[in-house]
């Protein structure tokens, strides 16, 4: 069985992610040192908090190169919430207007804040907090055994905006919050979810099971 490593970089509690993997019968360990990445087959980057802090810790603790090497080797990678945003080129969060705080740049595109003005005069509440339905338009193996429009748990103010075309898609599922936004991405061996599968009850557990089975 493959071994899943969860990256600990001081950005939130990781036990619930590890426990969720254990619940579905996967072998998941929390990695505290960057050199341990080589000992696992799959990598998970979770995280809550600010984008800039997260990049600072990833840098200081030497995670960036091992993560890159893992992905370049074609091994499966899963980003969760902030861990999804970090794999893009950069984020507007705490950035000087017009600029971005640089991210890992593994996928093209950037991270933007939800626009509070909905156009019809209405106001969108930010953060989005709660259960929203995801709708996929690609056969992402992460969704095996799930019904279209299943509800998953979101808590976030920012979301990714991948640079993609119909021929080179990156988004694999979308959700609607004052308009459509990217809820999951999938490119080759890289997957990521904006929602928290470890907090999305049975639906989320199935998604983690699907990742473990890849």
């Amino acid at each position: 069985m493959s071994r899943i490593g969860i990256i600990d970089y001081h950005m939130g509690n990781l036990r619930s992610v590890q426990k969720a993997f254990e619940f579905i019968g996967a072998d998941a360990v929390i990695l505290h040192r960057s050199e341990d990445v080589e000992s696992v087959d799959k990598l998970v980057l979770p995280g809550v908090g600010s984008f800039a802090d997260a990049m600072k810790f990833l840098n200081q603790m030497g995670w960036i190169e091992p993560i890159r090497k893992h992905i370049e080797a074609g091994k499966p990678f899963l980003g969760i919430c902030l861990g999804m945003q970090l794999i893009f080129e950069g984020s507007e969060e705490e950035a000087t207007p017009g600029e971005i705080v640089p991210g890992l740049g593994i996928l093209p595109g950037k991270v933007v804040r939800f626009n509070e003005n909905m156009g019809d005069g209405g106001l969108l509440k930010v953060p989005q907090m709660g259960w929203n339905a995801i709708h996929w338009d690609r056969n992402d193996p992460l969704f095996d055994g799930l019904e279209q429009d299943s509800h998953v748990y979101f808590v976030h103010s920012y979301h990714v905006q991948p640079t993609e075309t119909a021929e080179t898609p990156i988004s694999s599922a979308r959700a609607d919050y004052g308009g459509e936004f990217t809820a999951t991405v999938w490119k080759g061996n890289v997957w990521a979810t904006q929602f928290h599968p470890e907090k999305s009850q049975r639906i989320g557990l199935r998604i983690l099971k699907n990742f473990a089975a890849i």
Binding site: V155, S157, Y177
Partner: protein, 281 residues
Amino acid sequence: MITNRIIPCLDVNEGRVVKGVNFVQLRDAGDPVEVAKKYDEQGADELVFLDITASHEGRDITLDMVKRVAEECFMPFTVGGGIRTIDDVTRLIQAGAEKVSINTAAVVNPKIVEQTARRFGRCATVVNIDPKRVPMEELRARCTNTDSPVESQLKPGYGFEIHTHGGRKPVGLDPVAFAKYVVELGAGEIILTSMDGDGTKDGYDIEITKLIGDAVNVPVVASGGCGSPEHMRQVLTETRADAALAASIFHYGEYTIQETKEYLAKAGLPMRMMPADPLTV
């Protein structure tokens, strides 16, 4: 489309659920993990644990409980009650709570809201606001955060004032101005408990929920006064509240979460209904 959340609130003392839980099938109705799992099976969208533990030693037991819930229940939950310092917040988050709800400390030392948001993000930072109607002249004399506290239309001559200590202690703050202030500091959600409504089962306080919902642009959880699913329908349709919190109607088995959500879905509210179990498919 995002769904409205239905949230049972559980009072916890020294790591045990204490207020009126009578699920018949539970081996031990006081175990928070078992209670959480039961509500999870019924379709609860989130849980709020309110820690009423008085002693210092008791709070370590609470941390242990939070850890167990986080590790065994794969659902979102908030922990509130007794949070005084950023260290208290840190311990709860490290134990696995994804949101902490700050009540008295936000009134006494609003900086804690800023510190929590800075450290753990706006999404983890919840502020509890507990308003109650008091005579306008008293309110004007005490109010420190605005020159023009809001007067109640429903009860003329009265205005709203934040109270702590379970509604016993007025603190001279207008809840509308205070809500705006804590959101500026970094609160990502407000749990609004009307002290006039709390325990009455006469329905949520629509008036103050509407005022707060219109004043801030973060999610608002309506709390206090719920006696039926119809009360939830009212507050979710007549105000900008995103979620409805209740205690006794669920704890005493008057309504299950599932029948509550079926009622609300039928009334046209967006609800997350329980799907077929994808782990057994």
